[in-house]
């Protein structure tokens, strides 16, 4: 019974990883690509680690799985924030179809501060 549950969670998780890679291919600029990576990629990898913990059902394995999920959930937003700030400052990261840029408006009203 637990094998069927593990297999279903495995297929769902790898499907979300595939969706994340598809987003990296198809979305127009680095900020939206990072949106796909951070959300769908974390969900897919987290589901696969959950499937691993479901399959073995031991305390040590489950603790390691929880630590991997915590590591993914803590490091992905930090990395995404730093890449987003870098790509925004480089100036060529925004798609032409973007028509709301609130960070630019805020920086224009707040003259002299470091953007």
């Amino acid at each position: 019974m637990i094998e069927y549950l593990t297999g279903i969670v495995l297929i769902i998780g790898s499907f979300f990883c595939l969706i994340a890679a598809l987003g990296v291919i198809r979305l127009p600029d680095p900020l939206t690509r990072m949106h796909a990576v951070t959300k769908a990629g974390s969900l897919g990898a987290g589901l696969l680690v959950c499937a691993h913990a479901l399959f073995y059902q031991q305390l040590g394995i489950s603790l390691r799985a929880v630590s991997i999920i915590a590591l993914l959930l803590f490091t992905a937003p930090v990395a995404a924030h730093i890449i987003a700030r870098t790509s925004y400052r480089s100036g060529e990261a925004i798609s032409d179809r973007t028509w709301i840029d609130q960070l630019k408006e805020t920086a224009a009203t707040r003259q002299g501060t470091n953007r």
């Binding site: 094998e3 069927y4 593990t6 297999g7 279903i8 495995l10 297929i11 998780g13 790898s14 499907f15 990883c17 595939l18 994340a20 890679a21 598809l22 990296v24 291919i25 127009p28 680095p30 690509r33 990576v37 990629g41 974390s42 897919g44 990898a45 696969l48 680690v49 499937a51 691993h52 399959f55 073995y56 394995i61 390691r64 630590s67 991997i68 590591l71 993914l72 490091t75 992905a76 930090v78 990395a79 730093i82 890449i83 700030r85 870098t86 790509s87 925004y88 400052r89 480089s90 100036g91 060529e92 990261a93 925004i94 798609s95 032409d96 179809r97 973007t98 028509w99 840029d101 630019k104």
Partner: protein
């Protein structure tokens, strides 16, 4: 020890095929990516997929030790992503080659997707 159930074995193989297809798509983005930030993003997702692949391999072959490898790889991949992003940040600030962020023009047509 292989996994004994036919369904679980097939599910592991399907998951590996999907993860490999995702990695191939990411390699395409890594080779093409117009901005350097695109390549950093592709490497970030690639490291996440390597962790996921190690976990699936641990279920498929029945060896639990791959999970420790996955923990170590997740730590090192985070450091690598942060280092690359900081490097790009510093290079863009020092050389000042990039133009400032221009106002996006919504009337302009798109050239590519």
């Amino acid at each position: 020890m292989m996994t004994n159930t036919l369904f679980l074995s097939g599910a592991c193989q399907a998951a590996m095929v999907m993860l490999l297809a995702a990695m191939i798509m990411l390699l395409w983005r890594l080779a093409k990516g117009p901005v350097a930030a695109d390549r950093v993003i592709a490497m970030d997702l690639m490291s996440m997929l390597v962790v996921a692949f190690l976990v699936v391999l641990s279920i498929y072959t029945g060896k639990k030790n791959y999970l420790d490898v996955a923990i170590a790889y997740a730590c090192i991949a985070f450091l690598g992503t942060i280092t690359l992003a900081r490097f790009l940040h510093r290079r863009g600030r020092n050389n000042d080659l990039q133009p400032p962020p221009s106002a996006p023009d919504s009337t302009k047509g798109r050239s590519d997707d």
